[in-house]
């Protein structure tokens, strides 16, 4: 390892211990490390956006004169100035049109992504679950697949009905759901609990992997330190 690597490894270990000091309670060392981290990440985000997007796609076409008279590129510059006007309360009103444009485009991408990417693809996948052509082969595996498909269909529908907002209010009920809708929602809540439980196990596994990675770095450092 070069000298720079040694210094870097020691710095990384000190910062790691600073973060883990959080287990002793919110303390100055932890806050110091976090505030260093906030500054460093902000710098990388600024550099990443400048070198990859702003310079090659906005500034360079102007410097090279390629887009100097291109009205669309000019509009891009005007919108950029409008966006920066949002930094100060006094000039903030000047940036309202560009925020309107972005919120409108954002809403359109949200609707487009939701309709085509989620609603249609999930509905089509729910329908395509059932492959009736294979049923007449009386194969045990096909029947298992059919049972699974029916379970997925029922699970999808009861989960969807769990979120039903409007209910037929019973006199005196405090807004609690009653009757068959209550059973439907209970089953739906079960499916949601299993789904979120599976994802929570994945989040915990990913966090354990990060912890193992940090400890492996400790092991590597001390191994090299004592057995160069």
């Amino acid at each position: 390892m070069t000298q720079a690597d040694w210094i870097g490894a020691i710095l990384g270990l000190c910062l790691t211990l600073g973060v883990f000091s959080y287990l002793l309670g919110d303390n100055r060392v932890f806050r110091l490390v976090i505030h260093i981290f906030i500054g460093v990440t902000a710098a990388y985000v600024l550099a990443g956006s400048w070198y990859s997007v702003i310079f090659p796609q906005l500034v360079q076409p102007f410097l090279s004169g390629q887009d100097f008279w291109n009205p669309l590129a000019l509009a891009g510059i005007v919108f950029t100035v409008m966006l920066f006007s949002k930094l100060f309360p006094r000039t903030s009103w000047f940036g309202v049109p560009v925020m309107g444009l972005l919120v409108g485009v954002g809403a359109a991408t949200a609707i487009g992504g939701a309709v085509i990417g989620t609603v249609f693809s999930q509905v089509a996948a729910s329908i395509r679950l059932f492959d009736f052509l294979k049923i007449n082969t009386w194969n045990a595996q096909v029947w298992v697949a059919l049972v699974d498909a029916s379970l997925i269909l029922v699970g999808t529908l009861v989960t969807l009905f769990y979120f039903q907002f409007y209910i037929r209010k019973q006199p005196g009920s405090q807004g609690s759901v009653t009757g068959w809708m209550k059973t439907l929602r209970l089953v739906g809540q079960g499916f949601i609990a299993v789904t979120l439980g599976a994802i929570f196990a994945g989040v915990y596994s990913a966090a354990v992997a990060a912890l193992v990675g940090r400890l492996a770095t400790f092991k590597e450092f001390f191994t090299l330190l004592f057995h160069p």
Partner: protein, 209 residues
């Protein structure tokens, strides 16, 4: 003047939104609108990157004010501003793919961020036990039972044959999780469409001053 500016914003929001939305459903090149749509999307991409600089400007202004007015935590603000400036100088001087830029990323950003995620491993189990103590309804029981099965079924233990847990784990991921995720996704999609429609019909205008 501000009222005119606000009207322009509403017109821009609705017209650009509808044009971009139609592009999801139809090939607009037949009406020559596809190139206009591409230009609007390119503006949005570039402005998304420019917004990072506006955000950094806000970050600097908040920390500068805290530092100058000697508020509680003003010292930490100085640390943030100093590390931001120092890292930017290193990246500009040594270039984005320079050795020093990569050195700071390897030995400051990755260790701290990985440690924060590693901290989450400890904190999640502790917070889950806290919730068990306060609220143990059927939803929480089903959730934690699933977590336990999936964690114990991560692999066959100590070389044993694939334990029953991992076969149960595969089935859980394939059937109930697929069903639950699909139902929740459809619900979120409906909520998203409702929110987007309120913007495109001009009923909701979060961008207005």
């Amino acid at each position: 003047m501000k009222q005119v500016w606000r009207t322009i914003a509403v017109i821009l929001a609705i017209s650009a939104g509808i044009l971009v939305l139609l592009g999801y459903f139809f090939d607009l090149s037949a009406w020559g609108l596809d190139s206009v749509r591409q230009v609007i999307l390119r503006w949005a991409l570039i402005l998304a990157a420019v917004a990072l600089w506006v955000g950094a400007g806000n970050l600097v202004r908040v920390h500068w004010r805290k530092m100058v007015s000697r508020q509680d935590g003003g010292g930490y603000s100085l640390v943030t501003l100093a590390s931001l400036a120092l890292t930017l100088v290193v990246i500009v001087v040594s270039g984005p793919n320079g050795k020093m830029s990569q050195w700071v990323f390897n030995h400051v950003q990755i260790p701290v961020e990985t440690s924060l995620l590693a901290l989450l491993a400890i904190v999640l189990i502790y917070a889950s036990i806290r919730v068990m103590r306060r609220r143990l309804n059927p939803f929480a029981i089903a959730l934690f039972l699933t977590v336990i099965i999936l964690l114990l079924g991560a692999t066959n233990w100590m070389g044993m044959e694939a334990s029953k847990f991992s076969m149960l784990r595969e089935w859980i991921l394939a059937v109930p999780v697929t069903a639950g995720a699909r139902g929740v996704l459809l619900g979120i999609a409906l909520g998203t469409i409702a929110t987007g429609v309120r913007i495109l019909v001009g009923f909701e205008r979060p961008y207005e001053e």
